[in-house]
């Protein structure tokens, strides 16, 4: 299963990418683990995971074509 993960804010700065292709992740826990293994510079980052425009807090099953975004807080005002 291939999934595109959209990155926002400081996560784009830290990875140099606004979208990551991720494969073989059946749920959000494994997705998070895969992203952090690929990009260890994100390990100290706080971010929300949104699946199909809903914030998911607990582990959430993923399906092909899901719209996924990783949303860090923004500091500026």
């Amino acid at each position: 299963m291939n999934i595109k993960v959209k990155l926002f804010g400081s996560l784009v700065d830290k990875t140099g990418k606004s979208e990551l292709p991720v494969s073989g992740c059946p749920d959000t826990d494994s997705l998070k683990k895969t992203v952090l293994t690929q990009y260890p510079q994100l390990k100290d980052c706080v971010f929300l995971i949104s699946v199909n425009k809903h914030i998911v807090k607990d582990n959430h099953k993923l399906e092909e074509g899901n719209d996924i975004a990783l949303l860090p807080p923004f500091a500026g005002g």
Binding site: H54, F74, G76
Partner: protein, 380 residues
Amino acid sequence: MFNKEEIERYSRHLLLPEIGIAGQEKIKKSKVLVIGAGGLGCPALQYLTAIGIGEIGIVDFDKIEASNLQRQILYTVEDIGKLKAHVAVEKLSNQNPFVKLVPLPLRLDNKNALEIISQYDIILDGTDNFATRYLVNDACVILNKPLVYGSIHKFQGQVSVLNYTDNNKKTGPTYRCLFPEPPKSGSIQNCAEAGVLGVLPGVVGTLQAAETIKIITGIGEILSRKLLLFDALTMNFQIIEINRNDGWTKAAPKNKEEFLKMDYDFFCGNNVHKGSTKSISVNELKLKIQNKEDFCLLDVREFMEQPQIDELIDLQIPLSEVSEKTHLISKSKKVIVMCKGGTRSKRAIEILENDFGFNNLYNLEGGIMEWMKLQSEKVI
């Protein structure tokens, strides 16, 4: 309730059946507190003043700098060096004399926040740091006030109406339902560090003003339980659904007593090593330069940040790159670390001491701003 001049001024609102006289009266009776008169605060203040909010409080302890003028469109060149809260009140009073404007040129903290926030109906968050953002959120939760939240990063913005109690007496999520834990100190850059597109806060602050008007007049759908994301590069607006999460808000202070005991700087990791960092004053630095002492100056500001002072440049490594470039920093000489105001340099020292074993670092208290002050005193 409105005189002839007001009827004329607000005529375009009065024409809207959704607002009309009744809505405009609600606007006139309302009291809004804008925290931060910067990128988000300026456009929000200008619209809230234009539409005739009864009373607007403006909290900001900062002074106007040349680098603000690229996006904080309330201010002009003559205002540089003046207090934002005072200049904002002066300009906005000319814009609409029917609005009571209250300047609050102070640093919001847990000792004064509840007293100030309790006097207003709606709070608009235009802060630029996490410590104040959590403080304002927690105060709004304790006082049961809606918080119109906005924040920005480079080309992107977030907007939401937090802690909003709807007609069914159900209260929506708070900032802690979004982010229960603050990000690690220094891991997310603010506008001064990362840069920001000039019009971005104009868009986001105006959206916050729009939500404020909707809360007051009760029209439309409030952006509660929703997080709006805006990206100026793709012109994409999207709304993400969020839930209230009472479990996640457990760490928040529940009442005034607990709130007073909170140390928001500590919570956000700003002063974790309070007191342990060695520091020197700008006066001491001046003496060291005059005496030609052997030391190195490390500037951890971003490369484009002003002012660049020839006298104070030895080595420049932005805070975000410090961990990767430690080999450039002397471990034998005394190294004086500085930034704009002394916070980032302190963070850089914490990183270098804790992770890389440095013990020869001194923080320049008050940073370049304090140095500039010393120079201007000398001129006078």
